[in-house]
């Protein structure tokens, strides 16, 4: 066996348990490729398609309700067909995925940004600080995020005029989902911080009078952030589902910048009259996207932290 010293970083990378596990999990590899392609297609949409489905002037009602290209009446310009207003479904999906991914990732970023600091503070200091933060988190955790997001959305909808609401709908959505899901990150981070704070290196850091803020940032944070980020991967999938659900219920993003959920809601009206493709392809995209992210998250969790399983 080669000793570790004579190996290049590439050898080490290939030899690493994680790489090994990844290369021996075809499902995970496939999920990673699919996710990557979807992200590229979503954010590269302006380059990849010439259609601009959500600029009102660019649509032609002549092209409305075209089925996918392989159906008898389909045309090759619209691979996945068009909707009731002549929008190209494929282009709509690409832009819709962009909205879904943006909302999903930014809202998780917000939950993590709230959850990790609160979790570290609760776990490190303990006592009444801990009790206060975690009791609040526990209460919030019993209420499903989707209900909280609905409430926040409902409140902003009530207090703002509909024009203003339309403009800030997406930020509001991100904040609602983000505020609704922080407790789980706080919980994981807290349990990590509680373990770390008892370790000798923290005692050593305190002994040389490292400022508390620095102890938290330099020592506790790097050691507790891992499991949180793994859960955050699955959190992205959950956030995308919440966003899609809210949009499906008609309280999420407005139809002018539709997400996948909005597209499914619009298409759902045509499902029973035979135009199945309007709702089918966005729904399929949503499911494949969420499934891929979930598969990656599941694999990460199993590989890095067998105990979380």
């Amino acid at each position: 066996m080669k000793s570790t010293h004579s190996m290049t970083w590439w050898d080490r990378f290939r030899d690493h348990d994680i790489t090994y596990s990844f290369c021996h999990s075809p499902v995970t590899m496939l999920a990673a490729i699919v996710t990557l392609l979807m992200v590229l297609a979503a954010f590269g949409a302006p380059l990849l398609t010439s259609y601009t489905p959500f600029e009102p002037g660019s649509l032609s009602l002549m092209d409305a309700f075209l089925p996918p290209a392989w159906e008898p009446e389909g045309v090759s310009q619209h691979l996945l067909g068009t909707d009731g207003q002549g929008r190209d479904i494929l282009a709509a999906i690409m832009y819709g995925t962009q909205v879904s991914l943006t909302v999903g990732m930014l809202s998780v970023l917000l939950s993590v940004a709230i959850g990790i600091p609160l979790g570290i503070i609760a776990g490190y200091f303990g006592g009444w600080v801990d009790t206060a933060i975690m009791r609040f988190a526990d209460i919030q955790l019993t209420i499903p995020p989707i209900l909280i997001a609905l409430m926040i959305d409902g409140i902003t909808r009530t207090s703002l005029s509909s024009e203003v609401h339309e403009v800030i709908a997406i930020p509001v959505l991100i904040v609602s989902i983000g505020l609704a899901s922080w407790p789980q990150y706080a919980r994981i981070t807290r349990s990590g911080a509680m373990v770390e704070r008892r370790k000798d290196y923290i005692a050593a850091a305190k002994l040389i009078q490292t400022p508390t803020a620095l102890v938290l940032l330099r020592h506790i944070f790097p050691n507790v952030v891992g499991p949180t980020l793994i859960v955050a991967t699955i959190g992205v999938a959950v956030a995308i589902i919440i966003e899609a659900t809210l949009s499906f219920l008609g309280v999420g993003v407005p139809p002018t910048t539709p997400s996948l959920g909005t597209l499914i809601r619009i298409g759902n009206n045509f499902l029973f009259s035979g135009e199945w493709w309007i709702t089918f392809f966005p729904a399929l995209t949503l499911v494949v996207l969420v499934l891929s992210v979930n598969l990656i998250g599941d694999w990460l969790r199993d590989t890095f932290n067998p105990k979380l399983r």
Binding site: L147, G154, R309
Partner: protein
């Protein structure tokens, strides 16, 4: 024991009070209820009259006191949109939601626990792998897509089951209308109940599985094996019983979530329950309905948490000792 229960009850009461306060703020300070209710052509005079009638001109404390008193009597005001007392609307729709939630809960708990046990105990069995893979697909399918799919297959294509509504309902004493006594009612509840249950079932299944795997690694299971106990005794007597605490927690939470998730299912299946009432309230900024729904859902959550706490008490001797001592 009595000490423990009363402590829990006080905690629950505090939670309810906080929710009531939030709900009151929502009711009172969010938007202008009057302008939300009336058409464009209403005069200012009419609007003021309406304001007076709804009690929106009284001082803050008077309003909160009245709100609390009214809420205790089950009075949540008048719906802006439907111009009817909120408690009437909710009473009409509560049976539909609770029956849907009950049927789904039974479905989710029974299948979730048995599936979780199977996959936890026979982790390398092909059927376990099948269940696990499909459970991952299960958590990746948003509820509304499952609903649409089921409608498309069983209502549109096969025409076996209705795609919306509750079927025929029977009025019971106390104004409760049930769909569980008619054939069409049962037919109507199947699809929405499955839709609602699937996600929660998957979560229950996964948590039981992972708890079983965790417990199977503990020293006392190893020691039980080393004493030559029968696997049946080890699996169900020792392992399962030790997973009960987290399982009760999660199951309780999930049953609570069913009430909230019924919003989606009710929308997809046009189920005449509280969820669809609520979603319309959000869309039309019908604040009294929103706040009443919030209080009611919080009440159910608190109730479920209380039951969960009592179950802990039954299961875990350490907890019993802590409370005694």
């Amino acid at each position: 024991m009595i000490n423990f229960i009363s402590k829990r009850l006080i905690q629950s009461l505090i939670v309810m009070l906080v929710v009531a306060l939030i709900s009151f703020f929502l009711f009172n300070f969010v938007g202008d209820p009057v302008s939300n209710m009336v058409g464009q052509e209403t005069t200012i005079k009419d609007m003021n009259a309406l304001r007076e009638r709804l009690g929106l001109n009284d001082p803050f404390l008077v309003q909160f006191g009245r709100f609390l008193g009214d809420a205790l009597h089950g009075d949540f005001g008048i719906s802006y949109r439907l111009q009817r007392p909120v408690e009437e609307l909710i009473a009409e729709r509560m049976p539909a939601t609770l029956e849907l939630v009950f049927v789904s809960a039974v479905f989710a708990v029974v299948l979730g626990i048995s599936g979780g046990l199977f996959t936890g105990l026979k982790r390398n069995h092909w059927f376990s792998k099948f269940i696990l893979t499909s459970s991952l697909v299960g958590v990746s399918l948003p509820t509304f897509i499952i609903g649409i799919l089921l409608i498309y297959i069983f209502a549109v294509k096969l025409n076996w089951l209705p795609s919306f509504g509750r079927g025929d309902v029977v009025k019971l004493a106390g104004g409760w209308s049930t769909g569980l006594l008619t054939l069409s009612g049962w037919k109507a509840i199947i699809l929405p109940a499955i839709t609602l249950a699937l996600y929660q079932m998957t979560l229950i299944l996964r948590i039981i599985r992972s708890e079983m795997l965790e417990v199977m690694r503990t020293d006392f299971i190893k020691f039980a094996r080393a004493r030559g106990l029968k696997s049946r005794d080890i699996n169900y007597g020792h392992a399962l019983k030790n997973t009960l605490i987290p399982v009760i927690t999660v199951t309780g939470l999930q049953v609570g979530s069913l009430i909230a998730f019924s919003i989606i299912t009710e929308t997809v299946f046009q189920w005449p329950g509280m969820g669809s009432l609520f979603i319309q309230a959000v869309q039309f900024a019908d604040v009294p309905v929103m706040s009443a729904y919030l209080v009611l859902v919080a009440f159910f959550f608190v109730l479920i948490n209380l039951i969960v706490d009592l179950l802990y008490f039954v299961v875990d001797p350490r907890l019993r000792a802590e409370i005694k001592g």
